[in-house]
């Protein structure tokens, strides 16, 4: 299938969503190309599994299509809304995957090493994915948004519907936990040689 869409970056996501709601086919294509990568990328970084990330991305985008006619202009950025939906869907998926206890799940390498190998090259990336998989869901959500997506704390607060202080706490605890998990693997990951 040819996916040759125009890069219409002068038009805001919100304006495109309005056009989409009015039946504009070109807006549907432009929003698909513009926002699906974000949804997929965040879901993949949260879940570490490509197939699951694709499901989440498709579901999040479907919710966007459905909410378009009721979108209230100026209240929130479309990308912030999408970050929230994707991370919430991924968090739900993580909790279901982990069953009764958030901290009892196997590390990601144990269940989906093949998928990880497809999406991230190198032992370091695999190690990071494995370490992220050991964090509680909300910490992982905050760390992914802050350190992998590069969002500011206020943006994360809006996406997670919590206060900025709570974001700071989650990211700090998440980062400390990651450092502790990875500490024993410094040599294996090549950091002792640098």
């Amino acid at each position: 299938m040819t996916m040759a869409f125009d890069a219409d970056n002068d038009v805001s996501d919100e304006a495109l969503l309005g056009l989409y709601g009015n039946g504009d086919r070109r807006a549907a294509r432009e929003l698909t190309v513009r926002l699906t990568p974000l949804a997929f990328r965040v879901a993949l970084r949260m879940l570490g599994d490509r197939a699951e990330a694709e499901d989440i991305a498709q579901e999040a985008m479907l919710r966007l299509w459905k909410v378009a006619p009721d979108w209230r202009r100026g209240e929130a950025q479309v990308s912030t809304w999408l970050y929230r939906v994707v991370t919430n869907l991924a968090t739900d998926r993580l909790r279901r995957r982990r069953g009764v206890g958030l901290d009892e799940a196997p590390e990601i390498e144990d269940t989906s090493a093949g998928a990880c190998a497809q999406m991230i090259e190198g032992d370091r990336m695999t190690a990071l994915e494995g370490a992220l998989a050991q964090l509680p869901a909300r910490q992982r959500q905050a760390v992914v948004l802050r350190h992998l997506e590069g969002l500011s704390n206020p943006e994360i607060a809006a996406a997670m519907d919590i206060g900025v202080e709570a974001v700071e706490s989650l990211t700090a605890r998440g980062k400390r936990a990651l450092a502790a998990i990875l500490e024993g693997r410094r040599t294996e990951l090549g950091y002792d040689d640098e």
């Binding site: 299938m1 989409y20 039946g23 294509r29 990328r41 993949l44 970084r45 006619p69 190198g122 990951l189």
Partner: protein, 131 residues
């Protein structure tokens, strides 16, 4: 920069991209939702930009009147209602309505002002004509 910060930086540069199949599925959903919504409102994607609230209201009225064949009577009745209302608000009696306003009503309903073009926008007329 700590080891973890370097790891984050490496991860940020390794951006996973969605495959064409996912993009196609998302676009299929987008168009299906769009089509379903437009079907409910009686619009089509191509003509969506030319239809307004007034057009939808008139289409609904046309349907209630039994199609365009009943529209002539509907227009006449509507205009008569407007004039009767106007006459009562001006303090006219029933006799005055029958002797004066009723005649004026027929005068208007038989003239060009009873045509949809005097009330509706041109795009609504075009949309209606296409039904």
């Amino acid at each position: 920069m700590t080891d973890l910060d370097r790891l984050f930086a490496e991860a940020r540069s390794a951006v996973p991209e969605p495959g064409a199949a996912l993009l196609a599925r998302v676009l299929t959903d987008a168009e299906a939702v769009q089509d379903a919504r437009l079907r409910v409102s009686g619009r089509s994607p191509k003509r969506a930009a030319h239809r307004g609230v007034l057009g939808r209201a008139v289409r609904a009225a046309v349907a209630l009147a039994g199609g365009w064949g009943g529209v002539g009577g509907l227009v006449a009745a509507t205009v008569a209602g407007v004039w009767i209302g106007f006459g009562l608000s001006a303090g006219n009696t029933g006799g005055e309505l029958l002797s004066g306003t009723f005649g004026a009503t027929w005068g208007i309903s038989s003239g060009t002002e009873t045509q949809p073009g005097s009330v509706l926008g041109s795009s609504d007329i075009l949309a209606l004509a296409g039904e």
